[in-house]
Symmetry: C2
Subunit: 303 residues, 2 copies
């Protein structure tokens, strides 16, 4: 089994990238799309993010055998309710949301008569909107599927094959474990980045102009993810509250320990901590999850 007609609801960075990747890697598959924002629909049609851009979510999903919801986590339930009456009986509904327990619950409740297998491609950039997507976004990235216990193995295989066709490596995981893992690798990093960028812009004794000028000292690395879509991230934190607060507690304990070492002048402890973190970056590069060139490959000779 493989999907022949894929509908994408929400045509921002993720939805647009799925649409473009399907058209590039699965040219036989028919794509349709919808976005609640008329300006996004117009731009999506201009860029050809999906073969057809529809004027209603119902129209977009009507003939689809795979529907992928690419809207902020907090909007999933409402969109699912809207499309429910128009879905084909055999259609599989999936998504690309960054939290999985809350989405599984919301979609399960909104679509009691349809198959739902939530998914999370761990890929993105700091840009959002219909101009941000590109076909290679998922290449060499992981896509985590969190099927419910009663998921149809044939549909699960088909969904996994779909993501593999788009360039991703697929992993099956329990939704609760997904939410814990992503709290560490994605949600807490975003929260910390938003915080430090906010802190730096609110100081009285250091101007915002100075922060910008001297950002190459390390600060600018944080500003990338702190430029991500605010609606998306608000919803992530509201919908993965428990795991985020748990991981934030661990982070704060560790930061307090380093703070104490600085205050007491414990150079040995600092050196020890700063040494062991190098190995992780080496592994991330070896496993193709980051660029080995210095500064992520930033230009050093640009004018």
């Amino acid at each position: 089994m493989s999907f022949e007609r894929v509908a994408i609801i929400g045509l921002g960075l993720l939805g647009g990238s799925v649409g473009l990747a399907v058209q590039e890697h699965l040219p036989g598959v028919v794509t349709s799309g919808f976005d609640a924002d008329p300006a996004v629909r117009r731009r999506a049609a201009e860029r050809g993010l999906t073969a057809k851009v529809c004027e209603s979510p119902q129209e977009a999903v009507a003939a689809a055998d795979l529907v992928i919801l690419c809207v902020p986590v907090g909007a999933m339930a409402e969109v699912a309710r809207e499309i429910a009456p128009a879905l084909s009986p055999g259609a599989l509904v999936s998504d690309v949301g960054s939290t999985k327990q809350s989405i599984a619950a919301a979609l399960g409740e909104a679509l009691p008569n349809h198959a739902v297998i939530p998914a999370h491609p761990v890929a993105g950039t700091e840009h959002s909107g219909p101009d941000a997507g590109f076909a290679s976004l998922f290449r060499h990235r992981w896509c985590i599927l969190t099927p419910p216990a009663d998921a149809d193995p044939v549909q699960l295989d088909a969904l996994a094959a779909f993501w593999r066709a788009l360039g991703a490596t697929v992993e099956i995981m329990d939704a609760a474990h997904h939410d814990l893992v992503l709290a560490v690798t994605s949600h807490i990093p975003h929260l910390i980045a938003y915080t430090i960028v906010g802190t730096a812009s609110d100081l009285e004794d250091v101007t915002q102009g100075e922060v910008i000028k001297y950002s190459a000292g390390g600060f600018r690395d944080f500003t990338r993810i702190a430029a991500s879509d605010p609606t998306m991230w608000r919803d992530v934190f509201l919908n993965n509250r428990e795991a985020v607060l748990e991981m934030l507690g661990r982070f704060t304990e560790d930061l307090t320990a380093l703070q104490r070492a600085i205050r007491s002048g414990d150079g040995e402890m600092l050196f020890d901590r700063f040494t062991k973190t190098r190995a992780i970056r080496r592994s991330i590069i070896e496993q193709g999850q980051d660029d080995a060139r210095p500064d992520f490959g930033r230009k050093h000779d640009a004018d």
Copy 2:
């Protein structure tokens, strides 16, 4: 006045880059270098980081009219004491250290009979050692000079012209203010990055393999600066303790406020905070301090 013979003590990322940049942009200037590590000296000679690589710091500085100390902050005083007897009477001593008050004090004490103007080029990568340097490191970056009150204006102008020749834009600043500004734009970001990478590698319920796999969710951005030289960074925190602890206090307050908003489900507060941080990134890009391409310009189609 301009410098004719530049000595570089310490031939790692910064020292090596200064040496290469001088040879590229100031071909008439004679360069000599020294590093305490014989293996580094060998590699520096192979790469030609300075025209001559000497076997002692005294030999390296003997004929120089500008000596630049490119060693970790904690090693500055000792190196200054070692070179003091060999320095030409008119030589200017400078450095590239990341903290300025402690270095000004250390160099002033070790070199009571010589002119000292501390400097800090706000540039670097996560790599260190004699293979890490490159000639364009300082291009479009800021170099902050923190001259003492009695600095010779002619020497100050010459040092500023030297850094401009290497591609940097020069700013004059009070050492105490420098330490506060850099605590925000560089030291705290490094401390936070080291912390979160450490936290993530110490969890029981999420494996290190999972952290590495799913690092593209945001975590990998932090691993770059957490791979920086541990000796250098230990010294920075021990030598800019007050400003770092002050800024860390602000950061922790702001993080606690966001934590409370997550716990209480205050979506409006989260959205508001996450919105205002985008403007800073835009300014950083506009001012040429970061790459405008998504993901810092990381490759998306690499094999």
